[in-house]
């Protein structure tokens, strides 16, 4: 006998995830719905009567859909993409009973076997709004269980009810027939023969679904052309007859629900805790102040608090590398293990602190209910660049690091919004660009000069870079949303849920799932790219060079030996494939003011932007020890001369280089994560192409115009 399949459905914000966690515990697995990056969580649930498979259906207010993603819930429940669930457990919020029951009526109407789990009963009782579940049961005719995912109340009863209904599905069935207007019934009769269904109830339900969902501008999939044209015809007829098809269906269901009078009468309107908190949180200036504080804290956490963990990870892998190098004979293999593999694993793990921290904070904001307020507060501003208010936190996180920020776009419901956000936020000046700006500003911009008699040039340049990158990212979002990802404008409809204490298990689980998905998927790509990049800058490696230096190093005193070793490393890098690539692109980057050494640095910077500095250091033959203090590289860059004796790196070159770094997609980890989160190779390629083109054009303009005006 196959394991029975139970679907867990419900509106958003009903605590469905908590219920799922409690039922499945450690057996939960995360997969994807085919073709989309919507997660499909499933797990095993142990009932007294045996084991069942539970699948978590994406949260939805209704089965009606306008996009493929919304359609997933309906398709999973009707078993159109896989096995049909034997039973649907609908988790409802007991504090908002009637609104949640709308979804239940749709499921009953279609003839599904249903068990209703009224979650948050503890909160409903505390608020004095506990519904009378016996009456709900009498009205719906299917089992209704009082539940509290927080306290664990009712799970035994739920197990028993599900066990009973699995054994005898009729107990959970009550195919409601609403008294729809006769004209609508005629439409349904016309449409239902075109639909493949198990029985008459299901055909009827699918016909009603199609009448509501199918439209000219929908983004649905798997809809038969015959169904499409029939729906269009019926809608047109209805319109001509002055009928409102949507209202006929929806209002009939609602009138039935309202007629049940299930909502407990509330005495005088009591001021709830949520209302009291919102008076402060949504207050024009108090609320804005709090918002700025919370966002600053989030930013500070990502930018600074993660620093020790990042440093620690780097140190650990440096130490590991040294350890391995010390215990293996010098060889290509040793270099591969130390610099390629260990260095590569380190470059993946180094993202973990920020990912964990961001998802912890994000989970906290989501679960407490504050995130909905953030979306409410910033909607006016975000709308002007065509983004949802929820895109604010990912965009802000982009200032710390694009990798966790791109992962955070999952908080957005629409795929289009997610794509626009993840394709524009890499323009935000991330923390890896900061050391590059610092070096370039220190080495190439004039010292002891003030801008407007106020700010040192180098400080002004930094401030400018941050403003510049913000403007670019916001503009990019607006442009991408209006061109490449142009889609129907969907008006805001945001549920503002009551405040709740964040549940640590829920927050922690999300954090863990995100981290695991990063390590197992994007991490692999990053590791592979690191090794390829290492090989590019390592090979070819003829033995002659090492031999010619070996004798000299052996003969030289300690200090000179170090210099010679650095020289050898520099010679080797200069003859590598990577350097050839850097030299090869020189004609391309010369109009931006860059030479081949910068080109090699740009190739190296692909591993991570700050690697630009160490690559440049090796090119200039600066030893490991001297790299630490950094001033040597700065002085070498300052001292570099053109054949005519003028400085090679003028302030104009510096500005051009900073702008190039601000705009270019010099980060394979970003591209790997976009590949993972967008589910296709198309979007990272697009990101790379548009950012590189933008960077080149901007640097070209700055350098050429600057030169024409006589600077540098």
């Amino acid at each position: 006998m196959t394991t029975p399949l139970v679907a867990l459905a419900g509106n958003p914000n009903t605590g469905k995830t908590s219920v799922f966690n409690r039922l499945t515990g450690a057996t939960a697995r995360v997969g994807n719905y085919s073709g989309v990056t919507v997660e499909r969580e499933s797990g095993r649930w142990q009932l007294p009567s045996g084991e069942v498979e539970v699948v978590d259906i994406p949260g939805a207010y209704s089965l009606t859909a306008r996009s493929h993603e919304e359609q997933l819930a309906m398709r999973a429940i009707f078993g159109l993409d896989g096995p049909r669930p034997n039973l649907v457990v609908v988790v409802i919020d007991a504090t908002q009973l009637v609104r949640n029951l709308y979804l239940v009526t749709q499921l009953l109407e279609a003839g599904h076997s249903v068990v209703v789990a009224a979650n948050m009963m503890d909160a409903a009782r505390a608020a004095g709004r506990a519904p009378n579940l016996a009456r709900v049961h009498a009205a719906l005719g299917v089992p209704v269980v009082a539940l509290s995912a927080r306290t664990g109340e009712g799970f035994d009863t739920l197990c028993a009810a599900v066990g009973r209904v699995l054994a005898e599905p009729e107990l959970g069935r009550n195919p409601l027939h609403f008294d729809y207007p006769a004209a609508l019934e005629a439409d349904v009769a016309q449409l239902s023969p075109l639909l493949q269904a198990a029985d008459a109830n299901e055909a009827r339900a699918l016909a009603l679904w199609a009448l509501l969902s199918v439209a000219q501008d929908d983004e649905l999939t798997h809809i038969d052309a015959a169904v499409r044209s029939e729906v269009a015809k019926l809608r047109k007829q209805a319109e001509a007859a002055g009928r409102d098809l949507d209202a006929e269906i929806i209002a009939t269901r609602w009138r039935w629900l309202d007629g049940l009078a299930l909502t407990p009468p509330t005495a005088a309107h009591a001021v709830t805790v949520t209302e009291r908190i919102d008076r402060f949180v949504l207050h024009p200036w108090l609320g804005t102040t709090l918002f700025v504080l919370v966002m600053s804290l989030l930013f500070e956490a990502l930018f600074s608090w993660s620093e020790p963990a990042i440093r620690g990870t780097e140190m650990l892998f440096d130490w590991l590398g040294q350890l391995v190098r010390g215990s293996l004979p010098p060889s290509v293999f040793t270099d591969l293990v130390v610099d390629g593999v260990i260095g590569g694993v380190g470059s993946v793990l180094v993202f973990l602190p920020q990912i964990l921290l961001l998802f912890f904070l994000l989970g906290f904001l989501e679960d407490s209910g504050y995130m909905a307020r953030v979306a409410f507060l910033v909607d006016r501003g975000m709308r002007s660049i065509g983004l949802h208010g929820r895109a604010f936190v990912p965009m802000l996180s982009g200032f710390a690091c694009a990798v966790p920020a791109i992962m955070a776009t999952r908080t957005l419901e629409r795929r289009r919004d997610r794509l626009v956000t993840m394709l524009s936020l890499p323009l935000m000046s991330c923390s890896a660009r900061l050391p590059v700006y610092t070096l370039v500003a220190a080495a190439m911009l004039p010292r002891d000069r003030l801008v407007l008699g106020l700010l040192p040039v180098q400080t002004a340049a930094m401030i400018f870079m941050y403003l510049f990158s913000t403007v670019c990212a916001l503009t990019a979002a607006a442009v991408i949303g209006r061109t490449v990802l142009k889609g129907p404008r969907i008006p805001l409809l945001l549920e503002v849920p009551p405040y709740r204490l964040p549940r640590l298990p829920v927050v922690g689980r999300q954090m863990w799932l995100r981290a695991r998905s990063f390590l197992s998927e994007a991490g692999r790509v990053i590791l592979a790219c690191t090794i390829v990049l290492w090989a590019l800058l390592y090979f070819p490696r003829g033995p002659e060079l090492a031999k010619s230096y070996a004798a000299r190093i052996a003969a030289a005193p300690a200090e000179q030996a170090a210099t010679l070793r650095a020289e050898l490393a520099s010679e080797r890098l200069r003859s590598s494939y990577g350097a050839r690539l850097g030299k090869g692109i020189e004609p391309l980057i010369a109009p931006l003011g860059f030479d081949w050494k910068t080109g090699v640095g740009l190739v190296g910077a692909f591993a991570a932007r700050e690697v630009f500095i160490s690559t440049l250091g090796v090119v200039y033959g600066i030893g490991q020890a001297d790299q630490e203090n950094g001033t040597l590289l700065r002085d070498k860059i300052r001292a570099e001369r053109r054949p005519d004796g003028k400085p090679r790196y003028t302030p104009l070159v510096g500005i051009s280089l900073m702008i190039f770094f601000a705009l270019s997609a010099q980060c394979m980890s970003t591209l790997a994560v976009v590949r993972r989160e967008s589910g296709s190779l198309r979007w990272p390629l697009f990101l790379f192409a548009y950012m590189t083109t933008l960077a080149w054009l901007a640097s070209f303009t700055v350098y050429q115009v600057g030169q024409a005006l006589g600077f540098g």
Binding site: T64, T263, V496
Partner: protein, 90 residues
């Protein structure tokens, strides 16, 4: 008073008709925004938009542009006569 965007804050009004883009209007109705139902504008974002509404004990945010497409009547106006709707079990 004609539409929800003009409704006074903190006072319940009654929905007279729901308009708007097809899919959006459908979603509103499915959430219970239907003629005869009471709705209250409880607040507005600091930048003047969007609005926050309370309907059937739940809170939602929608923008003014969409609120303008929801016709409302003062609370004291009599509710639309609604025939009782029955459902029968098959």
């Amino acid at each position: 008073m004609k539409n929800l965007a003009q409704a006074p804050h903190g006072t319940p009004v009654r929905i007279a008709a729901v308009g708007g883009e097809h899919a959006y209007r459908r979603r509103l109705m499915e959430l219970g925004f239907l003629p005869g139902v009471e709705v209250t504008v409880v607040g507005v974002a600091p930048l003047g938009d969007p609005l926050q509404l309370e309907i059937r004990g739940c809170r939602f945010s929608i923008r003014k542009a969409e609120a303008e497409l929801i016709a409302v009547a003062a609370h004291s106006a009599p509710a639309m006569a609604e025939p009782a709707v029955l459902a029968r079990s098959a």
